[in-house]
């Protein structure tokens, strides 16, 4: 086989065995080059793996680890029967993860998601400058649409925008049409100024907190504790494994004293009106319904980034954001008269025999004060029933401003009721001391006259009025109005040392207002039910809060009605303010409807519930409607 290896004819075949050793020097050069190449490569690894591996380990961590916020759902808000008023719904929010955030990505992200680039940048800077926890991601868009989700999904890989992070969140869902909007309030992202204030010191940038109403007042209870998940992701942004999982602690549910049935009726009565309705249980101070109109839809701006709707609401001359039930400070008008009557009786300036002749007004201190009618000779009862101004001018003149103030303050006017809502207004009870303090002037007795009929400087809120009349009606016990069922920090009820007979006389007068012929509040009458009440018509001169708004143009009087039922041991007291309603009589039906709704429901619940399981199908009939009043045999 050697022939295979040795070419015999060397001149023809060039592939002669020759001496490869000739090249051995050059091969050695190649060997040294190989050593050089390997040293070159090894030093490369040495640089990266031995000299500063920490840098690269850190960067590998940044690459692969993401913090995903686990947002605690806020507690639900329930009505007194446990029905849900405020719920949460699941939605997707977009976060920018801070670990791998690149500022130059913001523009394409903003373009892809239809966000304003400048505000996005300023938002990111805000988070960075605040020194928020290093890993806290920045929420930039809520309620992602499927299209936006698709955009994020196709761009969140390591090569594009790895900072994009979609988080499932529980978004607040408020009742439609602004039902109980002012009571509930709304949530929003904590603002810069709030972060600076001590009240919110423990919150972080990006937190969703209660901004108003119950949401704000009970924020601590409703707001849970957010968790955090640290996950390892791949370069496509997909989760590979969970490194740390701090679970969120959901917020606690909150049960209100509000009765949704009553609330709904109260809302309906105020449809297309401006004003407020407050219904209380005078025996406990529980708020059964609280309406302020016009209302707003909290859903519109409960998110992080407020839409332009927010601006529209702020600019609305009717101030829909104002909770008139606790913030409208209006002259009480004639609804003040029961308090005047009680003050007169208690101080003894009037008694059962005290009568005043009303020829259509009277002159005090050289000035004629007009009555709204000609009532002839009236006693206390008639004075209340017909709302005779002359009678109460006289009582007021006898009492003097400071005794009037004393009794006004006794029923709770001039200071906050302490209801568990933010921004409650105090109202105003004028007195000689008040005059000197604020105007450096003594009180002129002539000024007392208009105060006596609830005009002048006196202002009250609808809530104060309901609380005041309700407390009087239960015999001089004023419970702190409150909205939460198991409220813990309630002030003890204030008990005033008043003669119950005197209260009885005032209550009888208020019964007459509704039930006697010629009474100003007959529109509040409910057959079979002893509704008591008082109308009020208040001029707007003292309305400082809302002056200069669209009101200024109309200047129509405000209509008040405050009523309770039944006459003895009242269970519900309702105050209604119908702004520009012109006459208190027009506010009476509002109160009537709410009171009726209350007793209708009570009657319905008193009926034995049909045992559906035992009724053959087909024979199933709704229970016969029962008149509301049948169940109310002197409760």
């Amino acid at each position: 086989m050697k022939i295979h290896f040795v070419r015999k004819d060397s001149s023809v075949n060039p592939l002669l065995p020759d001496d490869p050793k000739l090249a051995s020097g050059k091969i050695a050069v190649f060997q040294y080059s190989t050593i050089a190449v390997f040293l070159f490569l090894i030093t490369g690894f040495w640089d990266l793996q031995i000299r500063n591996p920490e840098v690269y380990q850190e960067r590998a961590l940044e690459n692969s680890v993401k913090s995903i916020p686990v947002l605690a759902p806020r507690g639900k808000i329930l009505d007194r029967d446990g029905r849900v008023i405020v719920d949460n719904h699941s939605s997707f929010s977009l976060y920018l993860s801070r670990e791998n955030l690149k500022m130059e990505h913001l523009r394409p992200i903003a373009e892809g998601l239809n966000l304003d680039y400048d505000s996005l940048v300023s938002r990111v800077r805000q988070f960075q400058s605040r020194g928020a926890p290093q890993y806290q991601p920045i929420p930039i868009k809520e309620e992602l649409t499927p299209a936006e989700l698709a955009f994020v999904d196709s761009h969140k890989d390591a090569n594009t925008f790895p900072e994009l992070e979609v988080v499932r969140v529980q978004h607040r869902l408020y009742p439609r049409d602004g039902l109980a909007a002012h009571v509930i309030g709304y949530v929003g992202e904590i603002s810069e100024s709030e972060l600076d204030s001590p009240e919110f010191a423990r919150f972080h940038q990006g937190d969703i907190i209660g901004k108003d109403g119950i949401e704000r007042e009970y924020n601590d209870q409703l707001m849970g504790v957010d968790g955090e998940k640290r996950v390892e992701v791949d370069s496509f942004g997909n989760e590979r494994q969970v490194l740390a999982d701090k679970e969120a602690i959901p917020g606690k549910d909150l049960q209100l004293t509000i009765d949704l049935d009553l609330q709904a009726v109260a809302e309906l009565t105020m449809e297309n009106r401006r004003g407020a309705v407050v219904a209380l249980d005078p025996r406990t101070g529980e708020v059964l319904a609280m309406v302020s109109r016009p209302a707003f839809d909290p859903n519109l701006f409960a998110g992080r980034i407020r839409s332009k709707d927010w601006k529209v609401l702020l600019d609305n001359p009717d101030h829909p954001l104002l909770n008139r039930a606790i913030q409208a400070q209006q002259a009480p008008g004639s609804t003040f008269k029961p308090i005047m009557a009680l003050a007169g009786l208690e101080t003894g300036v009037i008694d059962d025999n005290f009568r005043v002749n009303c020829p259509g007004g009277a002159t005090f201190y050289g000035r004629f004060f007009k009555c709204w009618g000609k009532h002839g000779t009236v006693d206390l009862h008639e004075g209340l029933v017909h709302s005779c101004d002359t009678f109460f001018y006289t009582v007021g003149n006898k009492l003097g401003i400071d005794r009037i103030a004393q009794y006004a303050e006794m029923v709770g006017y001039g200071r906050k009721t302490g209801i568990d809502l933010p921004h409650e207004a105090e109202g105003l009870v004028p007195s000689s001391r008040w005059k000197i303090r604020n105007f450096r002037e003594r009180w002129y007795p002539s000024e007392t006259i208009s105060v006596a009929i609830g005009q002048g400087a006196t202002t009250v809120t609808p809530l104060q009025m309901a609380a005041a009349i309700g407390g009087m009606a239960v015999g001089g016990m004023w419970f702190q109005p409150h909205l939460v069922k198991d409220a813990v920090h309630l002030m003890p009820a204030r008990r005033a040392n008043v003669n119950l007979e005197n209260i009885q006389k005032v209550v009888d007068g208020m019964y007459g207002v509704v039930n006697e012929p010629g009474g100003t509040g007959v529109r509040a009458r409910l057959p079979g039910l002893e509704v008591c009440g008082k109308t009020g018509t208040a001029q707007l001169a003292s309305n400082s809060l809302l002056k200069g708004t669209s009101y200024g143009e109309t200047h129509k009087d405000n209509a008040w009605f405050v009523g309770f039922a039944p006459r003895e041991n009242p269970e519900i007291v309702v105050a209604a303010l119908f702004e520009n309603g012109e006459h208190g009589q027009l506010a009476a039906p509002i109160v009537r409807d709410v009171i009726k709704a209350y007793f209708d429901k009570k009657a319905r619940l008193a009926q034995p519930q049909p045992q559906i399981a035992h009724v053959p199908t087909g024979l199933l009939q709704p229970p016969p409607p029962v008149p509301a009043t049948t169940a109310l045999v002197n409760p």
Partner: protein, 363 residues
């Protein structure tokens, strides 16, 4: 049967080294792809390696002189196939390099390397004089240049460049005058900037730019280098463990089973693993060189040295890229990177080296 063709003469050391390197490769391919839709890549690779051993055996059996005698045929076939690739080739990753169907395809240029090795060996061993004449150099350059250009316009610059070290080592060993060397250097220094603007495509220019400054283009080809360096650095001394490297497992490394397999390896096995793996490559190279030194004729030596130079170039460019010391060219790491054509072609070449070894004794 002559003694030199006995099993004892077989290059067992080389076989052990190759098997060890391939095993590391399969392990790394498994680790890098186990959660992806390339999860079957590791056993495909194992099958290719088995096919490679067959190829090695085949490459050993046929006398390399016979093969050298047929270079003309191989060369013509190669050129024809390269041209055919344009006509019927598959397009993947933006270039036409493969022939076949999606499930079975061949990267022709890998086998052309082998032909170039044979071509250079044959051409240089036929030379009469002590030195390479300019005429010879140009002729040989032209012969190598033609397939090189064909590969380059696929476009596959990386593979085309691998022809250069084969030619270079041959010319270096054959010997040529200093002034030619200087002239060549001058031509290259003029041609390089021109070709940078005229020949290179945008993405290739981009690669050069990002090689010089990876942070300039962190999301483009610079991204690959940055991620590769992070992976390597994160591996530190002992590595993060098989299947534990986040850069590899999270697929921050681009194609960690192919071009960037060594950065995946470096992440999971650390500096110690790198030294071992590079050591294996180094020993393999030395073994090939040793076979070159003991070759019975010039042709055998050229053959072995061509293979050695090609392997060294691959290791330098690929591993250098992994640590950011070489631009991203997209050439695989022989024996480790997943890929059939590459493995089989490499084994064929190692078969040739063994072939030379078995025929080293001239009676």
């Amino acid at each position: 049967m002559p003694a030199h063709r006995s099993l004892r003469d077989f290059d067992w050391l080389m076989l052990v080294l190759v098997t060890a390197i391939c095993a590391l490769g399969v392990l790394q391919i498994y680790s890098a792809t186990r959660d992806t839709h390339f999860a079957e890549a590791w056993w495909k690779q194992a099958i290719w390696i088995l096919a490679g051993f067959v190829a090695l055996w085949v490459g050993t059996l046929i006398d390399y002189h016979t093969l050298l005698g047929q270079v003309g045929v191989f060369y013509t076939l190669s050129i024809a196939t390269l041209i055919a690739t344009f006509a019927i080739g598959m397009t993947a990753f933006g270039s036409r390099r493969w022939i076949g169907t999606a499930s079975y395809h061949l990267q022709v240029s890998e086998f052309v390397k082998l032909v170039v090795v044979l071509l250079v060996a044959r051409y240089l061993s036929e030379l009469k004089g002590d030195q390479l004449e300019l005429r010879d150099l140009l002729k040989l350059g032209g012969l190598v240049g033609l397939p090189m250009v064909l590969v380059m316009i696929q476009p596959d610059l990386g593979t085309a460049l691998t022809f250069v070290p084969i030619l270079a080592i041959g010319v270096f060993l054959a010997g040529f005058r200093l002034q030619y060397a200087l002239a060549l250097l001058a031509i290259i220094s003029v041609a390089a900037p021109i070709s940078y603007w005229l020949v290179l495509k945008d993405y290739q220019r981009q690669r050069v730019v990002s090689f010089l400054d990876p942070s300039q283009d962190p999301k483009g080809s610079g991204y690959q280098v940055i991620q590769s360096k992070i992976a390597v650095g994160a591996g530190a001394l002992w590595g993060r463990g098989v299947t534990k490297g986040t850069q590899t497992q999270g697929r921050f490394l681009p194609v960690p089973q192919k071009d960037f397999i060594f950065s995946a390896f470096a992440e999971e096995h650390g500096f110690v693993g790198v030294v071992v793996a590079l050591g294996l490559y180094f020993l393999l190279l030395m073994q090939i060189v040793q076979n070159a030194q003991t070759a019975s004729d010039k042709a055998g030596m050229y053959l072995c040295m061509g293979v050695a130079a090609l392997l060294l170039f691959h290791v330098l460019v690929n591993v250098g890229m992994v640590v950011g010391r070489m631009p991203v060219t997209g050439i695989p790491l022989p024996l480790m990177s997943s890929g059939g054509s590459n493995i089989v072609a490499m084994f064929l070449m190692l078969g040739l080296v063994n072939n030379v070894r078995l025929r080293r004794f001239v009676n």
